[in-house]
Amino acid sequence: MEKKKRSFSALICVAVLLLFVVFLENLSAIFPQVPQVFMPTSPLFTVLKKAAVYSLVAVSMNLLNGFTGLFSLGQAGFMLLGAYTYAILTVPTAMKDQVYYLFEGCAFDFSLVDMFGGIFGSEGAGGAFSMVLGCLVALILAGAVAGFFAYLIGIPVLRLKSDYLAIATLGFAEILRAIFQWQKLGKITNGANMIKGFPTFSSFNITNSSGVEVLRLSTFVPFLISSICITVIVLLINSSYGRAFKSIRDDEVAAEAMGVSLFKHKMLSFVISSFFAGVGGALFAMYVANAQAKAFTSVMTYEILLIVVIGGIGSVSGSVLATFLYVACSEWWLRFLDSEQYIGSFKVPLLRNGFRMVVFSVVIMIIVLFFSQGIMGNHEINLGALIDKITRRSKRSERKQ
């Protein structure tokens, strides 16, 4: 069973990666003398968190654009739905009046975390458990709400093709953003103001009774959730339904003639993609520690589209790889371009606030112009094969000796 072995080794690799993230995060606690980069405040962890969130959204977009051939630009809209669903459902009841002070309280006097807290106790281990459970249920509901709206929107919109579909979904996302900023819905969405006070990634750090952090998990949590979701998407892509999606991408007429129902499968792909975009949106809200409609503009969709294109349309591992590179470049590696730099006494010209974006745009243009297939094309990084190769090589060298 070659295939089974490969998926097993891929699973091991993911587990090792997750353990490595935990290790990296707690490095400063074990060795207080580590370089600045490994300190909890370092941009490294900001990048890792954001990239973990974005990679899930990028993969969900790739499922739609790369594997089903539906050019949709509604991702930010579904993220917004997910973020708000998560935020509204998890803000503690005690915080509601404070968050919704402009609207004199929230219409939902209910919080999942408090509800589970009522069952399992809100102190100590019970409190931690009810927080995790509440967040988990809220994440799933965030996806479900996004998926449900995708279903409603999909009925009229999925009849459209290529550019028309893109325009319709983009319009939907913009309308949604406007609705969520509407003052009259303030009791639910807090109008144009942000919702905050809900559990974020740092809420998952384990502290002892005196409030000192024992084990940091704030980077591990987005990694864990993203990798579970991406694994599910990969399983779907490799299943019979994934093959049907690809057949629609390659040739709709032939797919339909061979018994693949276009409407059913397009809808399925759209709803599943939106579900994970919704989960991604909820994770994004956790990452920025607030939910505000203003953040989910079409620029965000383009950013994700760019990641998908850079990674390679039709490659999951490409999307993940591209996300980490993209986020690292935009948030960290190119930061030095934004401030004045000196080499010896020579002042490097042009460097000033905002120059980073110029360089970044040029880099992206070069990639899109000269590497139109993206980093991976439609290939995948085959971890199993890679391991096979390495073990075979080491065996060969053993034999030589």
Binding site: V232, L235, L236, S239, S240, Y241, R243, A244, K246, S247, R249, D250, D251, V253, A254, A255, E256, A257, M258, G259, V260, S261, L262, F263, L268, I272, G314, N378
Partner: protein, 278 residues
């Protein structure tokens, strides 16, 4: 002899152009029936009406005795309709299924210009055709609860490929095959949907004489093996005369002749249609 496919007064009008005009024909079970005609006669349009790609403007199509497509002109179509029998089906509800529904009933087709899935291997091309009849849903498929079903699909696909002599190419991209094999793969893919009726749209197009002769035997073999009825469009007269049990000839959308090969061969209207009236 029971009829597998029966077309009655099928008319397809695009704007002011009548592509198929009042076509009535009958495809008896377990026979090989050909539909021939000069270029632009409306043969492929007739196929597209049968397989649900188009809703015919007017007419009735029955498969195994059950109506599968029924239509009459509505709205603007009714005002511009140029064909006959507009009132014949007007009282009855329109049935206009999608192509995948038709395939589900047991009608499979191939295409005039090969339409294989380009980014996929030979094996996957056939495997996808099995998707519709597999007992699974998206959850069992994703979380591998359909293991037995998936195994069965793979095994049957492999058997089909072996039988067509395509098993050696199974991991190659479908488009990298030579032309004749691509045609054969398209037929294999159609067979994978477990049809009762096979529609072949110019199966010999682009084949050399040797391949054409092989194709004739091949069509007969699969008909007997899978208990199929075959309805084909073809331009190679040698092939048509060789394998058809009965032939319908259309020109400008209307039927101009029908009969067994000998009758059609000597029919003056057919000769005129192909060679032009001198």
């Amino acid at each position: 002899m029971a009829s597998a496919l029966h077309l009655e007064n099928v008319t397809m009008q695009f704007g002011g152009v009548v592509s198929v005009n009042n076509l009535t024909l009958d495809v008896p079970e377990h026979k090989i029936i050909a539909l021939i005609g000069p270029n632009g006669a409306g043969k492929t349009t007739a196929f597209n009406c049968i397989t649900g790609v188009y809703r015919p403007t007017n007419g009735l199509i029955e498969f195994m005795g059950n109506p599968i497509v029924r239509s009459h002109p509505v709205g603007k179509e009714a005002r511009t309709y140029k064909g006959n029998n507009a009132d014949k089906y007007a009282g009855e509800p329109i049935i206009s299924p999608t192509p995948d529904h038709i395939t589900g009933l047991g009608i499979a087709r191939t295409f005039q210009n090969i339409r294989l899935w380009k980014s996929m291997t030979v094996f996957e091309n056939v495997l996808i055709a099995k998707h519709q009849r597999a007992k699974q849903n998206v959850f069992t498929a994703t979380f591998r609860g359909n293991h037995a079903e998936e195994e069965r699909m793979r095994k049957e696909t492999m058997e089909l490929l072996e039988e067509q002599g395509l098993d050696v190419y199974k991991d190659e991209l479908a488009v990298s095959l030579p032309y004749g094999l691509q045609r054969r793969l398209e037929i294999a893919r159609a067979l994978a949907t477990q049809p009762k009726l096979l529609l072949l749209d110019e199966p010999a197009a682009g084949m050399n004489p040797q391949e054409t002769i092989e194709l004739a035997d091949f069509v007969r073999t699969i008909r007997d093996k899978y208990d199929l009825t075959v309805f084909l469009i073809e331009h190679h007269m040698d092939l048509v005369m060789n394998i058809s049990d009965y032939i319908y000839v259309i020109d400008f959308g209307s039927e101009i002749a029908q009969g067994v090969p000998e009758e059609v061969q000597n029919n003056k209207r057919v000769i005129d249609a192909y060679l032009g009236t001198g």
